[in-house]
């Protein structure tokens, strides 16, 4: 049985697709057969970030409608043969997603994949709801600014009430925080919320801080997930995130605070 991860945020533009591509690639690189699904029907982006846009023949909606088989629609990544992409349809909209259809695709994928990463669209409408409904784990992507934090908080409410696990009264979705586009210098100047500020509101297990980095944009434009850029801070940060998710204990980097601050922050936390 695959573990289903939803990458979600509520707010747009915080780095969901970048994160989905990076962690899916990271999991595959570590030897786990991974599928990443673009739930942003009508605004297809994941294929661009993963550099497979010219190989899209069939898409998620075709599979849901029975117009193509899952194997026909899945695209194998050119950098890693354990990573498969299920692209969204660009010509349809979110209404094309159905509860049963998504459930069926995930069930089928679960049979021979280790991890399924669901790249959620922004908002709290149908696409986002279906992306999180079947999830086991949630990566909540948040930028250090108040509107993003509030939207993430709203998303956490939905995760705890509108998922399959919540409806079946099972163990709730495991929620993790991913703080992206973090600029330690601006935090010091008081222009950006600090990790501490964000955690005061969200109080989630922190999976990692992704520093604001020029390499993210250039990697996106080149169609290579930033995690493959091992020299960049963002790439290293995503590699840390994947390692922590898989159970490794790594100290948090890129907070760039004093040691005392760090100890205060993590010493008291379980």
């Amino acid at each position: 049985m695959a573990r289903i991860i939803v990458v979600t945020s509520g707010k747009g533009g915080v780095g969901k697709t970048t994160t989905s591509a990076a962690i899916a690639m990271g999991l595959a690189k570590r030897g786990h057969k991974t599928a990443v699904i673009d739930f942003d029907v009508g605004l297809r982006n994941l294929d661009l970030i993963l550099g497979c846009e010219r190989r899209v023949v069939y898409d998620f909606i075709n599979v849901i409608n029975g117009e193509a088989s899952l194997n026909q629609a899945l695209i194998r990544d050119k950098n890693c043969n354990l990573l498969y992409i299920l692209p969204a349809s660009q010509t349809r909209d979110k209404d094309a997603l159905t509860h049963e259809g998504v459930g069926k695709v995930l069930d089928e994928l679960s049979k021979d994949f280790g991890y399924i990463v669901c790249d959620s669209p922004a908002g709290i409408e149908k696409g986002a709801n279906l992306a999180l409904y079947f999830a086991d784990d949630a990566f909540v992507v948040t930028n250090p600014e108040i509107s993003s934090v509030r939207d993430s908080d709203r998303m956490l409410g939905i995760l705890s009430s509108k998922s399959r696990r919540a409806e079946r009264n099972e163990e709730p979705i495991k929620e993790y925080l991913l703080l992206t586009r973090y600029d330690a210098d601006r935090v010091k100047l008081g222009e950006m919320l600090s990790l501490e500020d964000v955690q005061e509101i969200l109080s989630l297990e922190l999976l990692g801080i992704i520093p604001e980095s020029k390499s993210v944009l250039s990697a996106s434009n080149a169609g290579i997930p930033v995690i493959l850029d091992e020299k960049s801070e963002a790439g290293q940060a995503y590699a840390d995130v994947v390692a922590r998710y898989l159970g490794e204990k790594l100290p948090h980097r890129f907070i760039d605070g004093k040691q005392g601050f760090l100890r205060r922050l993590f010493g008291g936390r379980k």
Binding site: R150, D151, D153, R154, G157, I158, S160, S161, E200, I201
Partner: protein, 258 residues
């Protein structure tokens, strides 16, 4: 999408009205005394709704022409809005005049509410000041037609996130934080043993004795029985402090819990 603006909406609410307790059936004496009282505060009584209490009168076994009384009250400038403590015949007359009959509060004597907290329960007589709360909307219903509502206490251990709403028909106890944009409501008291950043509304059915207790007050809005304060009106001194909030003479009092 179809725009469906609602035609109407029912909401539970309370309003206050003076109660007129009659000790005599002498219409002339009643009218004379009423004018004397009104002259003391003409603006206060002008067009005021009025609840008529007949319990004392019926204790003395005095008969009353109810329609004559209603006419008199209207002439003097009151709007009778209901009766209570009437006998069968008086209730019948009231119904003929389209006046609601208050049956819930027939027990007990009026008590002036003090600072002490009293548990509101439909099975018990309500504590009531001289000015009683009348539930609205209220139909002229047969006595004992209202089933007692079981007030349940709800305990929440998970964080209440932005956009979530929790409603308790009794007390509400929350052990985790309440985020900004969340809404917690209770007919009774609210306890938050963590940071309260959202909206908290206690005594939503008009229980003015309800209180809000919280560990760290950063709320967007607090309300008891409809009286509210937004975060802008919150005193800086009590902000981020452990407090209790209660109602005193229609004013929300926020007091630090030492």
């Amino acid at each position: 999408m179809v725009n469906t603006s609602p035609t109407l909406e029912f909401k539970s609410s309370t309003f206050f009205a003076p109660i007129l307790i009659l000790y005599t059936n002498d219409m002339i004496a009643i009218e004379q005394t009423l004018y004397e009282k009104i002259n003391l505060a003409p603006d206060f009584f002008k067009d005021s709704p009025l609840m008529i209490d007949l319990r004392e009168l019926n204790k003395l076994n005095l008969d009353l022409d109810f329609s004559q009384l209603a006419q008199l009250l209207r002439r003097v400038g009151f709007f009778p809005v209901g009766i209570r403590g009437g006998n069968e015949q008086q209730n019948k007359q009231a119904r003929a005049l389209s006046l609601p009959i208050d049956t819930v509060r027939e027990l007990g004597n009026p008590i002036i509410i003090g600072e002490t907290q009293k548990q509101e329960n439909t099975q018990q007589p309500l504590t009531q000041p001289e000015v009683a709360a009348i539930k609205e909307p209220k139909e002229p219903v047969q006595p004992a037609a209202i089933p007692p509502v079981s007030a349940t206490t709800i305990l929440v251990t998970q964080p209440i996130r932005s956009g979530q709403r929790i409603y308790a028909s009794g007390d509400l106890i929350i052990l985790s934080q309440v985020s900004a944009g969340a809404e917690i409501m209770a007919e009774g008291n609210i306890h938050v043993y963590n940071t309260l950043r959202g909206r908290a509304l206690a005594g939503v059915h008009g229980n003015t004795a309800a209180r809000i207790f919280c560990f760290d007050l950063q709320a967007e809005l607090i309300s008891i029985a409809g009286d509210y304060k937004t975060s802008e009106d919150l005193n800086k001194q009590t902000y981020s402090s452990p407090v209790q909030i209660y109602l005193q003479n229609h004013a929300l009092i926020i007091k630090e819990i030492a």
